[in-house]
Amino acid sequence: MQTRKPRKKSNTLPLLLIASPGIFYLIVNSYLPMFGVFLAFKDFNYFKGIFGSEWNGFENFRFLFRTRDALVMTRNTLAYNAVFIVLGTAAAVLVAVLMFELGKKRRVRLFQSALLLPNLLSWVVIGFIGYAYLNADTGFINKTVYKALGLPAVSWYSTPGPWPFILVLVHLWKVTGLSSVIYMASISGIDKGIFEAAQLDGATKLQQIVRITIPMLKPTIIILTLMAIGRIFYSDFGLFYQVPQNSGRLFDVTQTIDTYVYRGLMERNDVGMSAAAALYQSLVGFLLVLSANALVRKLNPENALF
């Protein structure tokens, strides 16, 4: 009979191997390009190259704060993301709980696929689905719904009012399916014994959900929220650019930092200014994660990310 030598390494090596493609991806995609940070402080010149170009201090950052747009885009980015975090989490948890309560029937798998489907569509496609609904001349809403209700046609792409609701709705429709999967996985990990004990004590379904499922999900919710806060200064470019069909009349409610940078720099292709915008977004995001985490640690040390 052979005896296996207990090797300490063997515990971590397989895990490291599993994680290695992800780690590799992170290094190549997120760490190597960090050299580009230089460019934010340089007056980039193709001939002189990245290191040879002149330094120009904070000149590249000025355009971000130049006009009233600065206020509008910052407000939009922060407000939309805050709403997305709150409503998105609530919707995802709700869907996860409902799915879990339905058990492991075939129709659950059908619902799940249906919920995941929008996530696989690109924003361009979703933009056109939206266009099919909202087009002023031939759209479904104007041509069918509003006509049946006897309401006058609305020129959707030049009426800013409804857009905050449209954008939130479209965002939830697209992402809820995927984020609920993570919560469903966490729910499956809860010890069945707890539910059985509660049942014996006469707890109703609702009580089980409120007293057991949701508290057990708290760490997951906190981690995912912290990560979302880190990206609060980034916006989903496709959502804010493709879905409103880049309509100028809607900029007051659709302009975010990403779309502003894209529109402003399309014409000039200015490398330094793009780098400045990206650096500004990540720095603010980084500070927000640190402070949100500090807050969590103060309230409940166990749930803090680090």
Binding site: K48, T67, D69, N246, G248, R249, R263, G264, R268, N269
Partner: protein, 497 residues
């Protein structure tokens, strides 16, 4: 198992060595390697199809200028960013075109100064283009680019459905101004209520901006002017505050209110040809550099095969950007600028090379008719032949030595050359604006223009309320600084002229 493995390794080593040796031999002929990046409006060809064209070009260039050329066709809407990324990333790219970014290319050091090299490596092109045009591609006395040699005088026209105009008995010859179009649109709307008379040219543009005559955009894009010269004055003014702009937006508003123009023109993702092909539209307004008959004939195939007519409704006007918007440049990262310029010279002077670039291989991609015009091989068209860049005719090299596509009139070339010479020229011809000193303001102003301009020129915004707001936002974003900077550069240029 082991001997087999060893044998395999040996074989692998042999193959690798052989290919290495082969590589060395191939290199040893010592041709300069030039990479030529051009924009195409057609499909990107497959590698094999492209290789055939490259080989045919190389057979000429090896002999004439001992150079081998690598072709890099890039889709038009990705061109600027792809070229910019390639140059940043140190990819090999020797020749590219400015595509509207003429000054950015100079101020960011993307291209080299060609002044002294022109005489040695591209004398024929220099003579062909002439000093007057080269002035437009110069900055502070140095030549940085060679402008594409083609009909450049853009004339605003109405492109309309001939069958409908005939059926309604419309007299299109009486339409000589954009204001005359209104009556035509009304008649069409009355006869065909289900139809939308006027289509958009592309997103946020129904073509009326360019019908304002005598405007020098001073290096800005036609769709996003920031400080212009109007009516031969040398004073930089705000286009959006002018009476002319107020008049066209008012006209667009009238059309919009009377349902004469498509409602979603400001945001539509469809371009004119596609809209016309749907059969739901009567006409659109755009500027072309070819005669009326040719323009109409060349557009029919894309516009669903309906018979089309064209009517000029304004006059051509030349400013610096009409010439330097499509300039060919040699990149500052090029190791072989001389060879690059020599090849560039051939695209302006060598009939075979330029036709290979545009039409591909004779027999495979096109056939020549008896009258000298060309057509696609039987049963094929622009989208099925292995290689064609036919829609790039006006963007590269010398247009006047290219084959003409079947159906074009041989007298047209004369008309086009005439237009180039006779079109009204701006008082500031040759001046180019460098936006670097005001790039912060520029970026902010672009955003404001994108917000307001499409709605105003497409009629979906009311000029009464929107123009004052637009002007106020522009001023907040720094348009006044841009205008002041433009005036200062213009005065400096005039003083040194």
């Amino acid at each position: 198992m082991k001997p087999i493995k060893r044998l395999f390794l040996l074989l692998l080593g042999l193959v690798l060595t052989l290919s290495l040796v082969q590589g060395v031999f191939a290199q040893s002929k010592q041709y300069d390697q030039v990479t030529y990046a051009y924009a195409t409006f057609n499909n990107i060809p497959t590698t094999e199809a492209l290789a055939g064209v490259e080989e045919a070009i190389n057979q000429i260039t090896r002999e004439k200028i001992s150079t081998e050329v690598k072709l890099v066709p890039i889709v038009i809407w990705e061109y600027s960013s792809q070229v910019s990324l390639a140059l940043q990333g140190g990819e090999k790219l020797d020749v590219f075109q400015s595509l509207g970014d003429f000054n950015t290319a100079i101020s960011t050091g993307m291209c080299v100064d060609l002044t002294d090299m022109l005489d040695n490596y591209a004398p024929e092109s220099k003579d062909l283009i002439g000093e007057a045009w080269l002035a437009a591609t110069s900055f502070e006395g140095k030549v940085y680019g060679i402008p594409t040699y083609k009909p450049i005088a853009l004339t605003p026209m109405v492109i309309y459905r001939k069958d409908i105009a005939d059926a309604l008995g419309l007299d299109m010859s009486a339409v000589n101004h954009v204001n005359d179009v209104t009556e035509v649109l009304r008649k069409v709307k009355a006869a065909y209520p289900e139809m939308t008379p006027l289509a958009a040219v592309n997103t946020g543009n129904i073509g009326i901006g360019l019908t304002v005559p005598n405007v020098d955009y001073l290096t800005d894009s036609y769709f996003s002017p920031k400080g212009v010269l109007m009516n031969d004055e040398l004073k930089v003014v705000d286009f959006y505050a002018s009476d002319e702009f107020a008049a066209v937006t008012q006209l667009a508003r009238t059309w919009y209110n009377e349902d004469l123009v498509m409602k979603d023109a400001a945001t539509t993702a469809s371009a004119a040809a596609e809209l016309m092909a749907s059969g739901n539209y009567f006409c659109y307004i755009a500027s072309y550099s070819y005669p009326e008959v040719d323009t109409a004939a060349s557009l029919e195939a894309q516009a669903g095969g309906y018979p089309l007519g064209a009517k000029i409704i304004g006059s051509a006007f030349l400013d610096t950007s009409s010439i330097n918007a499509l300039s060919w440049m040699v990149s500052s990262t090029s190791k072989v600028p001389e060879a690059a310029l020599k090849f560039l010279n051939l695209t302006f002077t060598d009939k075979e090379i330029v036709n290979l670039l545009i039409y591909g291989l004779e027999g495979r991609d096109y056939v020549v008719n008896d009258d000298g015009t060309v057509r696609y091989p039987d049963g094929q068209d622009a989208s099925t032949v292995p290689y064609t860049a036919q829609l790039s005719v006006g963007t590269l090299g010398n247009f006047f030595i290219m084959h003409s596509l079947q159906g074009t009139n041989s007298e047209s070339l004369a008309w086009e050359l005439e237009q180039n010479k006779n079109a009204k020229t701006s008082v500031a011809m040759g001046f180019t604006f460098d936006s670097t000193p005001v790039k912060t303001e520029y970026t902010a102003v672009v955003n404001v223009i994108e917000q307001f301009l499409p709605g105003l020129v497409c009629g979906s915004a009311d000029p009464e309320t929107d123009i004052p707001l637009f002007l106020q936002r522009l001023s907040e974003a720094g348009l006044d600084e841009i205008i002041a900077e433009k005036q200062a550069q213009l005065d400096h240029w005039l003083a040194n002229k």
